[in-house]
């Protein structure tokens, strides 16, 4: 059903975005290749490859990693079409338009490939500019794709647990976990509050009324979250919480997980070979 006005469509869109992109764990629960790897080594492996992408001076190497990423996507039972749409959507925003000016001779002087005049000014696309922009674009594309693949194939909860690997304080990890837990609850509350208001007063037409409704929803949400915060702390105390949470660590590393990490290290180390070839 199509939303009737800005407030409603905004609430629905925000809610849909969170549910789909953050809270959906459908891909993470599929029996795919990456999903089967211990999440600590999965994250570590992807990080190692990401570092190699950052240090690479060879466009071929970056292409090669991108192809591996697509292969992993397919092996992890993530539809390629969905994955490409998701990763390519943000890439133009963050890299293509940013790197576009760099291809011209004003920013990157060099040997011109194509030249033209704009309002009397001579503009040319240079070989060096095009190379630099391509590097930037494909580096971002490959990095974003690897991160997106990691997010899709790993449950939020496991990702949070992995933060402990990097010595992130447990209390911080727990607060993050709670944020994920309660974002959904508050989103539902937000939608229900709006529907309850709409159910009583009908369609809200004037801007003043819309603003008043949004204001009252925010105030209501604040009050409820404050109240829930108190209850939640009491629930934690009741179960023995003393300020430093103890957590359930049930990670198990199997030989196949070490093989994955070895594979990532070999791939990453090959960056030195590709870089040396350029030199």
């Amino acid at each position: 059903m199509r939303a009737a006005n800005f407030v409603e469509s905004f609430l629905l869109e925000v809610s849909f975005f969170f549910k789909e992109s953050i809270l959906s764990e459908d891909y993470a629960l599929r029996p795919g290749f990456l999903q089967a790897i211990d999440c600590r080594l999965r994250v570590l492996g992807i990080l190692v490859i990401l570092l190699a992408v950052l240090f690479s001076r060879s466009l071929y190497f970056i292409f090669f990693i991108y192809l591996i990423c697509l292969f992993l996507t397919s092996a992890s039972k993530v539809e390629l079409g969905f994955f490409l749409k998701r990763s390519w959507f943000f890439v133009p925003l963050f890299s293509f338009f940013i790197s576009l000016p760099a291809i011209f001779n004003i920013f990157t002087p060099g040997s011109p490939l194509v030249g033209f005049r704009v309002f009397g000014f001579y503009l040319a696309i240079t070989r060096q500019g095009l190379k630099g922009a391509s590097f930037f674009f494909f580096r971002v594309l490959t990095s974003v794709s690897l991160c997106a693949l990691l997010m899709l194939t790993t449950r939020q909860n496991s990702l949070l647990k992995v933060l402990r690997l990097f010595r992130v304080p447990q209390i911080f990890v727990m607060i993050l976990g709670m944020c994920y837990r309660y974002v959904y609850l508050f989103l539902e509350l937000l939608q229900n509050t709006y529907l309850a208001i709409k159910g009583r007063v009908g369609f809200i037409c004037s801007l003043d009324k819309k603003q008043a409704v949004v204001g009252s929803i925010i105030a209501n949400l604040w009050q409820r979250s404050y109240h829930l915060n108190e209850q939640l702390y009491q629930a934690m105390l009741s179960r023995g919480y003393r300020g430093e949470p103890v957590v359930w660590d049930d990670f198990k590393i199997r030989p196949v997980d070490w093989m994955w990490l070895f594979f990532c290290l070999v791939i990453s180390c090959s960056v030195f070979y590709w870089n040396a070839k350029i030199d």
Partner: protein, 269 residues
């Protein structure tokens, strides 16, 4: 040796010093008892349970647990706090507040982990409980994807895994379907049969006879208005009506509309 678990003497409490929640409460709860606290909405049942769980403390009067007065400062002592939390468990009325971890499994094991129980022991208790409550299939599910009944079962598991000697239950069957409600009642009965003390706050009058030896009734003035064996309380129709614990039930016999108080009194005739 006294078998008193809780002793409350002239206990009063108000929120923010303004909103009275309990007034001059005097009561004792003995080891192995099944006690039900009844009363209309807003009469202080939840507040009383929170006080018994050492989450809030009286403004006036004394709360004793196993003969020792409960004071806020006592809970700064790790040993006392850990010992108390191992002995007393509270099921909150709002499962959304009680289940704060990302998955059901993590939430259930949160309590015993904080209390320093052995991980292998926690694992054994966990497996036993999820089977008992029929929640094996949802153990890895995020909390926001659970139904109300599943949330209540998970919350109950989170309390029972600690194996407390005293179980405090705040509206354990409210909003549940009959089958989940039955599971909860059976768990209460089983826990009591194992020697645990069970204190339940509810206004589900149809389960009281099963889950109570003794009934404590809180009134709108936030005082303890009546206390006694379940049959005696349930037979006092005027008292139940005065305290909003029974309602008029309207139904038809052929073409005649019939109206009578609905209190499950037939069980006590």
């Amino acid at each position: 040796m006294s078998d008193l678990i809780f002793e409350l003497k002239d206990v009063s409490f108000s929120y923010l010093g303004r909103f009275l929640a309990l007034k001059d409460i005097n009561l004792n709860i003995r080891k192995g008892e099944k006690v039900v606290i009844v009363g209309a909405n807003g009469c202080g049942k939840s507040t009383l349970l929170h006080m018994l769980d050492g989450l809030i403390f009286p403004e006036r009067g004394v709360v004793k647990f196993l003969g020792r007065q409960l004071q806020q400062g006592d809970f700064n002592d790790d040993n006392f706090s850990r010992d108390f939390r191992r002995k007393v468990g509270l099921l909150f009325q709002n499962s959304e507040a009680q289940l704060f971890c990302p998955t059901v499994e993590e939430d259930i094991v949160f309590g015993p982990l904080q209390l320093g129980l052995d991980k292998e022991l926690i694992r054994q208790r966990y497996l036993k409980l999820v089977r008992l409550l029929g929640i094996e299939g949802i153990s890895q599910r995020p909390i926001h994807r659970l139904s109300i009944g599943e949330k209540r079962r998970a919350a109950l598991a989170a309390v029972l895994i600690i194996e407390p000697e005293v179980i405090l239950l705040d509206e354990p069957t409210s909003g549940l379907d009959p089958s989940t409600s039955r599971v909860v009642v059976d768990i209460i009965l089983q826990a009591n049969a194992e020697g645990k003390t069970v204190v339940t706050a509810t206004h589900d009058m149809h389960i009281i006879e099963e889950i109570a030896d003794r009934v404590l009734c809180l009134g709108q003035e936030k005082t303890l208005v009546k206390e006694g064996p379940v049959a005696e309380i349930m037979r006092d129709r005027k008292f139940l009506q005065d305290n909003n614990l029974i309602h008029a039930h309207r139904h038809t016999h052929g073409s005649t509309v019939h109206l009578h108080p609905h209190s499950h009194l037939e069980h006590h005739s």
